[in-house]
């Protein structure tokens, strides 16, 4: 494949979505794990581990959406109507969880704090579920006629999309638990490790189930993954998933090794899933109807933006890293930012 501008944009967008998953994944995961930490003390601490950075984390979602709009407007114009209820649910869920960061500290009654806890928990879970189901909808194929979505209004709701949704919820919970393992100590850390093992099991189960189902969704997927001799090349992805899974399990159960290791290994699992998605979907942006080239914005649009993006994205990564550096280390109880 020649590295033309459209391919470069596809890679850049994939990068933006992956950074979003890296950063907001654990962030949403904390909300998903809220039910397992009933005490106010633990919940305060959990929220404070991300309070200074959550805005920036969610901005990558805006870049993913905005970048798709700019570089592949046709894909944006088809995918969003096709997954309309999921997108609306995700946006409203993000409203609930986003405001909880401030509102929770402003509550004066037990009831209102409970309400914002529920908003954080429910919002995070629904957002993760909707993201997973959107991915599933895309993967199972979207019906297109002309330049518009032409499927039914419930196409997004199938056992496969639900499976993808649950897998993403579990995956984010795994990232959240590994993040807590990194940022806290004492009993909270103990519980986080225990939850990470459970979430890890469910996540890997989800990965296996989604991977097993995918080749049977489209013949193109089947040939990509299971036909000889290509299988020799693509098989490296599932093999690496197996290796990382064992390594993660060992690092979580032994309790030895640095606290950042499980988090990095969990991110590695996500990266492999991403690679797997790339193998399945390439060269389509909307399988099986629209290729990246068909959906691409004209060169003048892509070039104008690309010039800025190659300069700005590294700068953004630098100051984002700086913000994480400022708030690095274990969070001590009572070290409330609020």
């Amino acid at each position: 494949m020649a590295l033309d501008l459209t391919t470069a944009w596809a890679l850049l967008l994939a990068f933006a979505v992956f950074v979003y998953v890296v950063l907001d994944g654990f962030d949403l995961g904390l909300g998903i794990l809220y039910p397992f930490f009933p005490s106010k003390h633990d919940r305060d601490l959990m929220m404070n581990t991300v309070a200074p950075v959550w805005d920036g984390n969610e901005t990558w979602l805006v870049l993913g959406g905005g970048g798709l709009f700019a570089a592949f407007p046709l894909a944006y114009a088809i995918i969003l109507p096709a997954t309309y209820p999921l997108i609306i649910a995700m946006l409203l869920a993000l409203v609930f969880r986003g405001v909880a960061f401030e509102f929770r500290w402003r509550s004066t009654s037990r009831f209102s704090r409970w309400s914002w806890d529920m908003a954080f928990m429910g919002g995070s879970t629904v957002a993760a579920l909707a993201q997973g189901m959107t991915l599933g909808t895309l993967l199972q194929g979207i019906t297109v006629e002309g330049r518009a979505y032409a499927g039914g209004w419930w196409d997004w709701l199938t056992p496969f999309t639900l499976l993808c949704g649950v897998a993403v919820v579990a995956g984010y919970a795994l990232l959240g638990a590994c993040w807590l393992n990194l940022k806290t100590d004492g009993p909270l850390q103990e519980r986080a490790r225990w939850l990470a093992r459970i979430a890890g099991l469910v996540t890997v189960g989800g990965i296996v189930a989604v991977s097993a189902a995918t080749p049977f969704l489209e013949t193109a997927y089947f040939e990509r993954w299971l036909a000889w001799p290509g299988i020799l090349e693509v098989a490296i992805v599932p093999v690496l998933v197996g290796v990382l899974t064992l390594w993660l399990a060992r690092s979580l159960t032994s309790g030895k090794g640095p606290d950042w290791l499980p988090f990095v290994l969990a991110l590695g699992l996500f990266l492999l899933c991403f690679a797997g998605l790339g193998v399945s979907m390439w060269p389509y942006v909307i399988p099986p109807s629209v290729t990246l080239q068909q959906a691409a914005a004209p060169e003048s649009s892509q070039l104008f933006m690309f010039a800025g993006a190659v300069v700005l994205v590294p700068i953004i990564l630098a100051y984002t890293a700086y913000a994480y550096w400022v708030f690095r280390g274990k969070l001590k109880p009572g070290e409330g930012y609020h």
């Binding site: 805006v62 700019a70 409203v95 979505y149 649009s301 609020h338």
Partner: protein, 475 residues
């Protein structure tokens, strides 16, 4: 025809966009102004070491955090509204407006979000210099954000620099022309000034409230009221002038919008009157119960006593925007603008007479006018957005042809969900903000932080105050 509660999908999508964008824009118009105000306060504190500035900063930074958070989450919604409800617009205009919005994300959203955490929580972690830098970056980010999104809006109002391809897509040909359309500088100046003025009235209203509560002895309450009154006396007349220039620009590029704003159903060959009030009857093409001043509209637009102005009769009926809405929203905006100038002059007079802190009626007026900027901003946007109908890209793409192929019930139900959830969630947020506004700013009796001393100490003290302030309600 496919309808939901008697409304078709296009109208529902327009209501949904209007509702979500109006709700959203309330928060940026506060946070653009407050971010700059906070940067100024922090800078003045570091420069003068006067602890009062720091206490005013600490009072407003918590309000800013809530407003900013609500702006972020309602803004994420906006970035997806184009695709969910306006997919044909996204497909056709995406090549032009998409990159501008991507630049907004890359140059503004990340900057604001990346430095917000340090601004809010990092004063004693990074030291005063870097904290000041972070605070300034947040302020700069809000202004850059406004610049890009107004460039998008201005292109949709006065499009240029594009061609059209076989699929009907707008293809960018000259980016300079696209970013700097004829209406852009005026719209940007008018909107930024509006954000600063809106914030000045909110700060002034809260200052007035504090003084009315018998807190005239609190230096922080006096300081915020005084600063707001200075800001208003400068900004309000400036905004009237900027608005006037924007109007002249609109007359040049969108004369039909001006005809609707002025309520001119008929063309006037020898001097158009300024209609102060009246009841527009669009079906009949008449202004009923008109109260007007002859020739004044032509004079205001610089056309001379007998200057000719075209009315809505020069365009076919289906090219007319809905007149009544913008006739009234325009009058609300302008009326509030002149009241604001009056409030500024009143404050100046009270200050000159030396009783700025002994004028309960001025304080009451300022409390009453606290939200006036927000109302004026929404009224202004209604005027300009409804005024370019029936087009979404002016004279190029009709709104009705830009909508997503969705069923009316899908749009209708999501609209209901947005309305219910926005009122519940943002209602709670407004309640929390009002509560913070009601609380008395720190008195700072010891004034230890006013002493010039090691910068480290100045960094620690406010953090402890913040912790105390935040810990209390959470317990």
């Amino acid at each position: 025809m496919d309808t939901f509660l008697g409304l078709d999908a296009t109208l529902l999508a327009r209501i949904q966009f209007g509702f979500t964008v109006s709700f959203h824009f309330i928060f940026p118009s506060i946070s653009i102004g407050l971010a700059s105000y906070l940067a100024v306060l922090n800078g003045l504190y570091l420069w003068t070491r006067d602890g009062v500035y720091l206490r005013v900063f600490n009072f407003w930074v918590k309000i800013f955090a809530i407003a900013f958070g609500m702006g972020v989450v309602s803004g994420i919604v906006m970035s997806y509204q184009f695709g969910t409800n306006w997919s044909v617009f996204s497909d056709l205009a995406g090549p032009v407006v998409g990159p501008l919005m991507a630049y907004e994300v890359l140059t503004a959203f990340f900057l604001e979000a990346g430095f917000l955490g340090i601004m809010l929580f990092g004063r004693d972690k990074v030291g005063p210099g870097l904290h000041m830098f972070a605070t300034a970056m947040v302020a700069v980010g809000t202004a850059i954000s406004a610049t890009w999104i107004l460039s998008v809006n201005s292109w949709m109002q006065t499009p240029q620099g594009f061609g059209i391809n076989a699929d009907g897509q707008f293809i960018p040909e000259d980016w300079w022309a696209i970013v700097f359309t004829p209406s852009f500088p005026y719209r940007l100046a008018h909107t930024l000034t509006a954000a600063y003025l809106t914030t000045a009235f909110i700060v002034g209203g809260v200052g007035g409230w504090q003084l009315l509560r018998g807190r005239a002895h609190n230096p922080a309450a006096r300081r915020m009221f005084s600063m707001a009154m200075w800001m208003i006396v400068v900004t309000a007349p400036l905004q009237v002038m900027v608005g006037h220039e924007h109007g002249l620009n609109t007359l040049e590029h969108q004369p039909v919008k001006i005809a609707a704003m002025e309520g001119h159903f008929h063309s006037h060959e020898d001097g158009a009157p300024l209609i102060l009030f009246g009841l527009p009857d669009q079906a009949a093409g008449e202004m009923r119960y008109e109260l007007s001043i002859p020739h004044l509209s032509s004079v205001i637009f610089g056309l001379g006593w007998n200057g000719a102005m075209e009315g809505l009769d020069v365009v076919p009926d289906e090219e007319e925007p809905p007149v009544a809405v913008i006739f009234w929203s325009f009058r609300v905006m302008v009326g509030l603008g002149f009241l604001m100038v009056g409030a500024g002059l009143w404050g100046l007079w009270a200050r000159w007479r030396g009783h700025l802190y002994a004028s309960p009626w001025l304080w009451r007026a300022m409390v009453a006018m606290g939200p006036s900027g927000l109302v004026a901003v929404i009224a202004g946007w209604i005027t300009t957005e409804v005024g370019r109908q029936p087009y979404v890209v002016y004279n190029q793409l009709r709104t009705a042809d830009a909508v997503s192929p969705l069923g009316a019930s899908a749009v209708g139900w999501s609209l209901i969900a947005f309305i219910v959830i926005y009122f519940a969630v943002f209602g709670a947020g407004v309640l929390y903000i009002l509560r913070l506004m009601h609380r008395e700013p720190d008195m700072g009796e010891d004034d230890a932080d006013a002493e010039p001393g090691p910068t480290r100490a100045a960094g620690i003290t406010p953090q402890q105050q913040m912790d105390r302030g935040r810990a209390a309600p959470a317990e």
